[in-house]
């Protein structure tokens, strides 16, 4: 009869085999181009299998059943120590208190399991009273457990829910500018637009574009309305995958009254950022207009006076169609080291290549005092001015020579947005 291997020998075989297998997955996977995550996962599986194999190879031993006190004598202190470690480790990793509670609670659940596993077998019921008691205790345990959990988790207030559902529809008659915008915000919330859209820092979902950083407010009202009523007609850049295409519901035409739609558009028109150029694309794969070939193409039309929507605006008249200034004093966009104008009180000491977006925007919308550079922002839609600025940059920073995209700016905070209004950075008083 074959003699059984000793545990030591088995251990060596198992660990050796696992090491070989894990290396094969890791290096072999690398050689065939498997992503690191999958290779790591496979190696992890091998590790788990190894632990199982070691535990199965352990010499046979009888399972000792314990009384309750024997059972908790070591387990309870261990669980408490473990709980403390988990609490502080989770805290150190930045988990908020609710998660710290959750993790420690699960450690205690683990303790409970292990107490049950090693527990001495229950005594056999002697009478109907015995099993009746245990039966009711089982139901009671389950009920108390489920009722307690559902009662202890955070709750929504029914009164608030009802109040929200009973809100009257928005009516605009008699409302003035800021009130219309506030009503529009209400429409935005009531129709669950936040389910998919963030508005700058507000909201949780990245399913649709962040309407704040996209600066939907730059677009004409008709366009915004069309986007709400017929969302499939034009897809926001970066959201043209099949899943996103179908994401925006098509029922708002039926759900929203004319007043509600008008109010909503008034609110959306406020979504502009005077300090950054618009951002497009899905979270994680975003880009700014500085790097958007389509925008640059449209910007060129504006710059050269060919855009019908900005009839009368022709940047090329002074700055030159090919970037060579046609007028003395006009900024030469070809030289990336050109400074900011010193004719303005808000002059900043920065080379053209390092100009913040806000400076580009300010110089174009507000103009430069005592020069032919007029405050174009008071005459033409800012949508086109941003496009023209994006194009102007290409004279010293051509698109085809860029090795990397300009960084997507961080989402403006609540305080920053409030400061725009306080500092009067918008030309429109309602913004």
């Amino acid at each position: 009869m074959k003699e059984e291997k000793s545990f030591g020998k088995k251990l060596v075989t198992i660990v050796g085999g696992a090491a070989v297998l894990a290396s094969a997955f890791w290096f072999g996977g690398g050689a065939v181009g498997l992503p690191g995550g999958i290779r790591g996962g496979l190696a992890g599986l091998v590790f788990m299998a190894m632990i199982y194999a070691i535990l199965l190879a352990l010499p046979k031993g009888e399972l000792k059943e314990k009384t309750f006190f024997q059972n908790i004598r070591f387990k309870l202190p261990v669980a408490i120590v473990l709980g403390v470690i988990i609490w502080f480790t989770a805290g150190a990793f930045g988990f908020p208190v609710w998660w710290q509670i959750e993790f420690v609670a699960f450690a205690m659940v683990g303790l409970l399991y292990f107490i049950i596993l090693d527990m001495r077998a229950l005594k056999v019921e002697k009478s109907a009273a015995d099993w009746s008691f245990r039966l009711i205790a089982t139901y009671a345990l389950a009920s108390v457990l489920f009722i307690t959990i559902t009662a202890q988790l955070p709750q929504f207030d029914p009164a608030y829910e009802l109040e929200k559902l009973n809100k009257p529809p928005v009516k605009l008659s008699g409302l003035a500018g800021p009130e219309v915008i506030a009503a529009g915000r209400e429409v935005f919330e009531n129709n669950k637009c936040f389910n998919c859209h963030k508005v700058f820092w507000e909201g949780n979902s990245d399913r649709g574009p962040n309407l704040g950083t996209k600066q939907i407010g730059l677009y004409p009202e008709d366009y915004i309305k069309e986007q709400i009523l017929e969302p499939r007609k034009i897809q926001s850049p970066g959201f043209d995958d099949p899943k996103s295409k179908k994401a925006m519901p098509t029922y708002y035409g039926e759900d929203l009254s004319d007043d509600e739609l008008d109010a909503l558009v008034a609110y959306l028109k406020t979504m502009r950022d005077p300090t950054h150029i618009p951002v497009e694309g899905k979270f994680g794969e975003q880009w700014t207009w500085w790097d958007d070939p389509k925008i640059l193409e449209e910007g060129q039309k504006v710059f050269e006076g060919l855009e019908p929507a900005t009839e009368g605006l022709n940047c090329a008249v002074c700055h030159g169609k090919d970037g060579i200034p046609m007028m003395t004093g006009a900024l030469d966009f070809r030289n990336e080291n050109n400074p900011d104008t010193d004719k303005m009180p808000d002059h900043i000491d920065a080379k053209l290549k390092d100009w913040p977006d806000a400076l580009w925007y300010r110089r174009v919308t507000r103009g430069v005092d005592n020069t032919p550079m007029a405050p174009w922002g008071t005459i033409f839609p800012h949508l086109y001015l941003w496009k023209a600025e994006a194009y102007a940059r290409t004279f010293h920073d051509p698109l085809d020579k860029r090795t990397e995209k300009r960084p997507v700016p961080p989402v403006p905070t609540k305080e920053e947005i409030e400061s725009w209004k306080k500092e009067g950075m918008f030309l429109d008083p309602l913004l």
Binding site: F93, L117, K123, I147
Partner: protein, 711 residues
Amino acid sequence: METPGTTKKTSFFPKFLLALVFVYGLGHLPPGLVPASSFLASLTAPQAAFAQDEEEFVDEEEEFVDEEEEFVEEGEGGGEEAAGEEEGDEEAAGEEEEDLSYLTDIGPAKEHEFEPFSFLGSSNRKFTWFAAQMHILFASFILGCPMFVVIMEVMGARRTQGVRKAIILSNVFLGILIGVVIGITGEIIVGIHHGVLYGLYSCAFGALMVSFLNYFHRLMNVKASAVVGAIFGTIMAVPLTPVEHYEVSGIVLALINGVVGGVLANMIMFAKADFKFERLAHEITKVIGMCYSFTALSGGLFLFVMLVAYKDFISYLVATFPMLFMVAYPTLFILETVVMYIYVYSWDPLNQQNKKGRHIVCGIILNVLGLSLLCALDGPATFMQTPPKPLGELMDMSEWSKIATMTWMPLNYHRLVGNGTFGGYMVGIIGAYMYLWSKKKEEREYYDWVGYMGNIIGVAIMIPLPAMGYIFVREIYQYDATIGMYIMSDRESMFMLVQGLLVGTMFSASNIYMWVSMKRIENAQRFFPAMKFGFILIVISATIWFTPRRFFATMLPEPGMNPEMVLPDNLAFLALMISKNTAAFALVTVTFINYIFYTIATKTGKVHYGKINPLGPYILIFLGFADIWLMSWMGTIRELSRMNWHVYKVFKDVTPEKFAPTLAESGFHVTTIVWTFFIIMTAIVWLAIKYPKTKKKTEGAPSTATPQMAE
């Protein structure tokens, strides 16, 4: 009018007949003579709030107003709205009255009145909730348990020629069910085009071919059966599946399904008939018989409650599916009732006549009818959640389009698998109860085994359940992401969190049961250290599954939500699907590994049935309670996901209870429902299985029911 007390018995019938004729006559008055909103109107024409084409809607409204004007002139009640309109016109020149129509505007459907009702703190919604869930729990029992019973009956039947013929049919039936489940998983999770058809055809034809050959005692070998099943199944599935071009993934799926079909067919055909299975199936069938009555009773209760609580809506819903509710549903229901009673009462006679095969066929027909009923009623259920688009053309669509909505098949799959799990756990509970109620050694051994079978089947079918749930919610997201967000990231996210907790609890309890069961198997202790490691993995996985992104989830900051309740972005990965899927995979894998240990242990060591740790039956009961609680909970989530709509975006709920109830209120109410169900079920199990035994014993009859074996 005379009160019944004063009516003489002799004159009752003529008066009653006269009253009937009178009511009939009133009911057939020409519509022009009957005021529109009176009681009589409801006798002359079907009263339903239809969502109609705008044009028709306007026409009808005009008519409605005309009639109401007439009504107001007569000075009768019920015309307040029309009166309001008139007064409004008069006052229009002066102060404009506040328009509150938004409170009662049910969207494309007509305005309707609402009457609140409450009794002992229970309201319209809670009564409906209670009745609906009681009905669906009993319905699940009579759908889930017959699946279990037929499998058990097949396993227990001696392989006579007739039985083997019946097994060909049952194998094909099982092949269809399993093929659909594997296929849809491949289709949705892996992305194989028409995966469900590949799965269905291949598994069913594989099973058919192998069973057919097995019937003639050919292809006895399991491995050979796997090969034949795979090849034949694939050969049949490929031309039958309508795809433009074949992909390797589809063929692989067909091959896998063919193997499954072939192996299962062979194993079932040549399984050693064990009388325990026959007895188990017979006993469960007795319970099914009683549960059937309760299904009908609770269904009636549900309808009555709806008629009181949501009368306009129930009229609208029933009228939307005339063919279904007037023809198909009653036909199916009656057929199922007939077949069910034939199945229950023909058990012994057919056994005695050596016609077991016919009885199995009867069981399969019962299951087919049950599944058809389930699919039929999933139509209106999913219509309420995802009515077919465009909604403006809803009333012009065929009834079939209204049944076959986007989520219809996913819900069918989900309920099919869910009911199977339910059946398994219910059998576990029955086993546990009977174990507790039995004193004899043999009885205890037998019911210990029943509990084991129930748990194994329940767990095995529960494994694909998360995938079916995923498929259902995925389809909801595709229909309208707003509903998906409402479930996963808004008002219902805490409900989903509780679901995670329940799933973790169930997997844990199942594993603890296996652990406790293994203690009564000789030589099983070698698996214990590895199983303990499995428990550590289970706790970690359950923790990850439970970990939410936000403890107070809303799509925008709201009162009550604070930053402490939001997981920072760098840790958010723990709450994303990748982590959840890994945790689910780990839970399922550990359970599967423990199951393998258990199976090896039962094959290599003696099982001392009847000697299970007395904790075992209580774990089974706890497990069953958790499963049924979870089932009710998920039903609640599904219903609440329609938000304040009866039919999403078509028929608005304008009652005071249109808001989402709190988690605490829902938890308590679901517990009440499950308690009621369990009390009734306990009584049924006692009446159907335990009481006849007690009676027989006192009459001196044999203590065990021993149906005659077929020859």
